[in-house]
Symmetry: C2
Subunit: 307 residues, 2 copies
C-alpha cells in the first residue's frame, strides 16, 4: 500500500489559505517528498505526518516556490534526531543549490547524499526498496524541470501446488517467495520455479510546471493516480498558460484521458485562482475521474484485489 | 504615528497555528521588517499589509527561523514590481548569507544594499527619514545577535509670537518649522529662533534570542513599546532558558519594569508553549502593562498629546 498526501496545491507564492504544491508519499515505513516550498514543513505538521522518515527528496526544479522550505525542513528533521542518510535528487546543480541554501542550516545530524538527474529520463530505486522504482522525466518548462513517476512492482502469486510437486521443503517456500535463490544438495532453487507471472503493481505520476508533452504522457500511462499541473481553470487563460509554460485544467484533462490513468488530481494553482472547484464540471466532461486537489488531500493506493 | 505589527510570535519552527517571530513597522509610507523566517510573507499577507514598501530589513541573527523566508519575500516584492533599493542590515556576514540564499532568487528588479553591523552598538537613520533613528545593540545569545530600537524624534513647538516679534514674514514660518535655514537680505534665519525645545518622541524596542543583559535594558529604557523575548512561561524552565540563552516570561517582566517602559509584549515562544496567556497573571504581578504577543497583534504609537 502506498499513502499519498498532496500537502499543498499552490503555485508561485504561499498564501494564508493555500500551501505551496508538495507531495508526500509513504511506503513501507519510508517517505518521499516531492518539492519543498516555503511552508511545506507546516503543511506536513498540519497533516500530522512526520518529517523524520523522509528518505528521499525529489526536486522538480529550483524556482523558490519549490525549494525555499528546504533549510527549515532539514533543521526540523535534525531536531527530530534523524541520523540515517537522506538522498536529495534533482536536475543539474542540486548539490550546489542545496549547499548554498544550507548557509543557514550548516549542522545536521545526518548525511545528505545527492543524485543529479541529467538525462531526459532516468530510473532508480527508492533506497532500500528494490521493488519501488522512481522515474524522473524531463518536462517542458522555461527552465530544466522534471516530473516524477513511482512504480511499485508486485510479484506473481506463489504456486503451492507446483512447490509441492517439485518436492521443495516447506521451510524454503517463504524464502523463495521473497525472491531468494537457494542452493540445496540436490541443486539450485530459484523463485521463478514457484512464482506465477508478475501481477499489476501500483503507479503514481506527478508533474508541475510544464506544457502538455510526450514525456508526461508516457510517464503517466496507466497510472493509478496522476497528479498534474493545472495553473489556470479559466479557458481564456490558455494563451497565458502557453506563454508561461504552464497548463490549463482542460489541457491536464486531455493528458489524463490520453494517458489512460485511473484518477487525476489537479494542483499548482495560480494565486489568482480562488475556486478551482468551479471549473471541474467542464474538466470532468473531458476526463470524468478528475478531482481538484486541495491542501491535505490524501489517497491510499492499494493493489487491485486489496482495495 | 508609527504602526507596529507582530506578524508572528513563534520561535524555533513555524507551526500551523503560529508564525515565526517577525515585526513590521510602518512610518510615513515606509516599512521596516525585523527578521523574516519561513512563512513571514504569508503572515504579512494575512495581515493585509504589503511587502512592497519594505525599505529596510533588519536581521537579529542568522538562525534559520529568523531568515529562511527571505528568498520568497524578495521574489514577492519583485513580483509586486518594487524598483527602489532595499537596505538589509544584520550582524557580520549579512551580504554573504543573503547572497547565498539568493541562489533561488537571483533576479530581482531592485537593488539590495547591505549594512553590516559590527560594533556593540550602532545607530543609523531609516533611509530618507532623518528623524527616525535605528539603534542596533548586541544581546547575549549563543551566536552574535542584535536587538533593535527605533526612535522617532519630535521637534519643539513653533512659537508664532516669537516669529512675529522677530518680524519674520509669514511665508517663511513653515519652512523654518520644517528645519530649513533661510538666508534673507537682513541676515540668516534658523529654526531654533522660532522653535521650542524638542518634545518627547516615540521609542520602540525589540529583542529576541537573549538572556537579560545591560544592552537590552539600556535600549529599552523608557520605550513606548518593548517587544521582548519570552521563550518559556513555566517557572521551572528557568535553567533551560539560561542554558539555551533565552528568557522566561518572569525575566522579561523584570527587564520591562527595570527599563521603565510603557508597555511590553512577549514573543518568540517555544513550540512547547501552547497557551502563553495562562502565565500572564504572574507576569503582570511583576510588570502590570505586560501582554502576551500573538500573531497579527498590532499597535499604533502616537505622540503623547495625539493619543
Amino acid at each position: 500500500m502506498i499513502d499519498v498526501c498532496l500537502l499543498g496545491c499552490g503555485g508561485m507564492m504561499p498564501l494564508p489559505y493555500r500551501y505551496l504544491t508538495s507531495l508526500m508519499v509513504r511506503y513501507n515505513g519510508r517517505s518521499i517528498l516531492i518539492d519543498c516550498g516555503e511552508g511545506t514543513q507546516v503543511a506536513l505538521r498540519r497533516k500530522g505526518w512526520s518529517p523524520k522518515p523522509i528518505d528521499l527528496i525529489l526536486f522538480t526544479h529550483y524556482h523558490a516556490d519549490h525549494i525555499s522550505g528546504l533549510p527549515g525542513l532539514l533543521l526540523t528533521m535534525g531536531n527530530a534526531e534523524r541520523t540515517e542518510p537522506l538522498l536529495i535528487a534533482g536536475p543539474r546543480g542540486v548539490e550546489r543549490i542545496v549547499n548554498s541554501l544550507r548557509v543557514i542550516a550548516p549542522e545536521l545530524p545526518f548525511e545528505i547524499r545527492f543524485r543529479e538527474i541529467r538525462e531526459a529520463q532516468e530510473t532508480f530505486d527508492l533506497p532500500g526498496e528494490k521493488d519501488f522504482h522512481i522515474s524522473a522525466y524531463r518536462v517542458n518548462h522555461n527552465v530544466t524541470c522534471y516530473g516524477y513517476a513511482m512504480q511499485l512492482d508486485r510479484a506473481g502469486r506463489f504456486d503451492a501446488d507446483k512447490a509441492a510437486a517439485l518436492g521443495i521443503p516447506k521451510p524454503m517456500w517463504g524464502r523463495l517467495q521473497k525472491g531468494e535463490t537457494i542452493e540445496t544438495q540436490s541443486g539450485v532453487l530459484t523463485p521463478d520455479m514457484v512464482m506465477g507471472p508478475a501481477r499489476k503493481g501500483l503507479k503514481l505520476a506527478y508533474c508541475t510546471d510544464t506544457r502538455p508533452c510526450e514525456g508526461v504522457l508516457k510517464a503517466a500511462a496507466g497510472a493509478d493516480l496522476f497528479i498534474c499541473e493545472g495553473m489556470y481553470g479559466e479557458a481564456d487563460k490558455a494563451a497565458k498558460a502557453k506563454e508561461h509554460k504552464h497548463m490549463t485544467f482542460a489541457e491536464a484533462a486531455s493528458m489524463a484521458r490520453e494517458a489512460g490513468v485511473s484518477r487525476m488530481w489537479l494542483t499548482h494553482y495560480s494565486p489568482s485562482l480562488t475556486r478551482p472547484e468551479e471549473f471541474m464540471p467542464s474538466v470532468r466532461a473531458v476526463f470524468p475521474a478528475a478531482e481538484a486537489g486541495k491542501d491535505g488531500k490524501t489517497a491510499e493506493l492499494n493493489f487491485e484485489d486489496q482495495q
